[in-house]
Amino acid sequence: MRYDLDLIASWIAPESRVLDLGCGQGELLEYLHQAKNVQGYGVEQDEAKAAEGIARGVSILQGDITREVMDYPDHFFDFVVLSQTLQQVAEPLGLIRQMLRVGRRAVVSFPNFAHWRGRCQMFFQGRAPVTPELPYEWNDTPNIRVITLVDFKRFCVRHSIPVIEAVAVKTEPSARTGLILNWLPNLRATNGIFLLGR
C-alpha cells in the first residue's frame, strides 16, 4: 500500500468504523478490513472506481463527498478519512466540520504546495508549479485550493479544530516508502497528514 495510506492506517484503531471520502477503488478500506477488522464505508464520485470497489467487496456509495457526508447520523463513525482530496474541495471548512460531526476523528491529507520543487519553479522559472504530487498544468487542474502545511495549521487554529497529530511526509506518489520529516517540513515535505479531533 502507498506510504501515506499506510501512515493513515496506523492511526486507525482496530474494530473501528471508518468512512473514507474519495475512496477510489477502496484500497485503504479493504486493507483496514483485512488487517484491523475495520468496518469500512467509502464515497467515490467516479462510477468505474466505485463499481470496481463494490465488486471487490467494499461498501461504497457513488456520489459527491460533500453531499453524501451530510446524510450520516452524528458520531456514526470513529474515523473519517479525506485523503489527497482537500485541494479539490469547494468548501473545506464546511466539509471538515461535517467530518467531525459524523466522526470522532478526522484524517486529512493533502499535497504540500510549499515543497521546494514547486517553490523553485515559481522562483526561477516564474511558472505555476507542476510536480509529481501536483502534476497538472494550470488550465486542466482539478485542484482549486493552494494548501501548505503552515496554511493548514493556521486554518485549524483559526477555526478551533484540535490537531491531535500532524506529520510531514516525504514520499513519491504511489510509493510504498517514505520519510517523516521534522526539520524544515514546510519546505521539504511532499505531503501533510493531519489527525483532527472535535
Binding site: I54, G57, Y72
Partner: protein, 392 residues
C-alpha cells in the same frame, strides 16, 4: 420487463430446470393487507444450485411486473428460450449457482402457475376474475416467506430484484429484517411516483376499455387481447429510453420503401410494439396485469413500515444493502434510488450504491452487463464471507 432473454449457446447455464408448485393456506386462509382473505394459495417456483447444509447460501430472486418463476435455464433440450435472467444466474455468473442456492417464485396474483385472478375460486368453481382480492407487495412477500419456510430456508443470504422485484426486496428488508442478511435492489423505488402510477393507470384503462374485458369475466369467452396489447406497448415505451429507441429503430420503415398513407405499422417502432403486444397477450392474463400494477402503485415502504418515515421503515435489523440505478432509466430515475440510499444511511445501514452509465433505459438491469454482474457477485461474496466470519 422486456423480451431480451436469448439462448447464449457458448455460455454455460443452469441447464434443465423444472417448475414446481407449493400450496399453503388450505385449512386456514391467508389474511391479506386489504382485510380480505385468500386460500388455498399456490406459488409456482424454481430453484437452481444446492442449498448448503447450514442453509447459508440461499438467494431469493424477485421478478419484475410481468416476469415469472422461470429466471434461468430451460425446460427441455428443445426449449428455444431460457429464463428471464439467464445472463445473471448460472455457474460463474453474477449470481453463481455453484455457490448459491437460487429461488425464484411467480408472485401471488400472477398467472404463470401461482394463484391469481385466472385461478379457480374454490367457493364458486369459476375463475376468480374481478372477485380476486386486491393485493399488495407485502402480501406477495408474505407468500414468498411461506415458500421459504416450506423449503427450510431460515435466513436468506440475499434477496435480489429489479423494478417491482426491487420493491419486494425492500419489503423483505423492512418486514423481515431478521430473515435476510442482504438486499440488492436494482432500478427501483421505495414508492411509486405520480409518473409511475400514471403509466400504470393508462395501461389499466386500455384493458378495461376493451369490450372483451367484460368487467373481468372473460374467461369463458374472448380475452381483452387488444387492451392488454396496448397496455404492454405502453410498458415497452417506458422500459426503453429516447436514445435506445433512436438507436434501435430511428424513423426506419418496416417492410416498405415509403409511407403507406394509412394507419398500418409503417415505422419499425410501431411494428415492434405491435409484435410485443401480440406476444404478451399469448402468455399473460389481463386481470393479473390489473392486480399486479395496482400492488406496485400502492407500494409505499415509509408509510407501511415507518409511519411515514422511510428511515424508520429500515430501523430494525442489520440488513446490508446494494442499490443500483441506471443513468438513462426515466421510469425509475436515479433520484428515487438516492432517496432510498439517504434513508438507509440515516438508519445507519451498510449500503453501497452505484449509478451505472447505461443507454438502454429501465430495461438495463435485464441485459448482459459485466459491471452489474460484478457489483452483485462482489456484494454476495463479501456478505457470504462476513457471514462465515460471524460478523453478520
Amino acid at each position: 420487463m422486456s423480451e431480451y432473454a436469448e439462448h447464449d449457446l457458448d455460455a454455460e447455464g443452469v441447464g434443465l430446470v423444472e417448475k414446481r408448485l407449493f400450496t399453503f393456506a388450505q385449512d386456514e386462509p391467508m389474511p391479506l393487507e386489504s382485510g380480505a382473505v385468500i386460500g388455498p394459495v399456490t406459488l409456482a417456483y424454481e430453484t437452481y444450485g444446492t442449498l448448503a447444509p447450514d442453509g447459508s447460501n440461499a438467494v431469493l430472486v424477485c421478478h419484475a411486473l410481468t416476469g415469472d418463476s422461470h429466471a434461468a435455464g430451460v425446460y427441455s433440450a428443445s426449449d428455444p428460450k431460457p429464463g428471464w435472467w439467464e445472463v445473471m444466474i448460472g455457474p460463474g455468473k453474477g449470481i453463481d449457482t455453484d455457490q448459491y442456492f437460487v429461488i425464484c417464485a411467480n408472485v401471488l396474483g400472477g398467472c404463470m402457475g401461482s394463484t391469481g385472478p385466472a385461478s379457480i375460486d374454490p367457493a364458486t368453481g369459476q375463475p376468480y376474475g374481478p372477485d380476486f382480492p386486491v393485493l399488495t407487495i407485502g402480501d406477495m412477500v408474505r407468500a414468498q416467506k411461506a415458500l421459504l419456510d416450506h423449503l427450510g430456508v431460515k435466513r436468506l443470504l440475499a434477496a435480489v430484484g429489479g423494478s417491482m422485484g426491487g420493491m419486494q426486496v425492500l419489503e423483505w428488508a423492512a418486514r423481515y429484517p431478521d430473515r435476510l442478511v442482504s438486499a440488492i435492489a436494482l432500478a427501483t423505488a421505495p414508492r411509486h411516483s405520480a409518473l409511475q402510477i400514471a403509466f400504470h393507470e393508462v395501461a389499466r384503462q386500455a384493458i378495461v376499455a376493451d369490450p372483451d374485458w367484460n368487467g373481468g369475466r372473460y374467461y369463458s369467452c374472448c380475452k381483452p387481447a387488444h387492451g392488454l396489447a396496448v397496455a404492454r406497448m405502453i410498458g415497452h415505451i417506458t422500459y426503453l429510453s429516447d436514445e435506445a429507441m433512436r438507436h434501435k429503430f430511428g424513423r426506419g420503415l418496416q417492410d416498405r420503401a415509403d409511407f403507406s398513407f394509412s394507419f398500418d405499422a409503417d415505422f419499425q417502432v410501431e411494428s415492434y410494439l405491435r409484435y410485443q403486444g401480440r406476444k404478451f397477450v399469448e402468455r399473460f392474463d389481463a386481470n393479473s396485469f390489473l392486480y399486479i400494477t395496482r400492488a406496485a402503485d400502492y407500494f409505499d415502504l415509509g408509510s407501511t413500515h415507518g409511519g411515514g418515515s422511510l428511515t424508520k421503515a429500515f430501523s430494525r435489523g442489520k440488513v446490508r444493502f446494494l442499490v443500483v440505478s441506471f443513468s438513462s432509466d426515466w421510469l425509475y430515475p436515479t433520484y428515487q434510488s438516492r432517496e432510498l440510499v439517504q434513508a438507509l444511511k440515516r438508519a445507519g445501514k451498510d449500503v453501497s450504491f452505484c449509478e451505472i452509465e447505461a443507454h438502454w433505459g429501465h430495461d438495463a438491469f435485464l441485459l448482459d452487463s459485466p459491471r452489474l454482474a460484478g457489483l452483485i457477485s462482489g456484494h454476495l461474496e463479501r456478505t457470504s464471507r462476513d457471514m462465515a466470519r460471524g460478523i453478520l
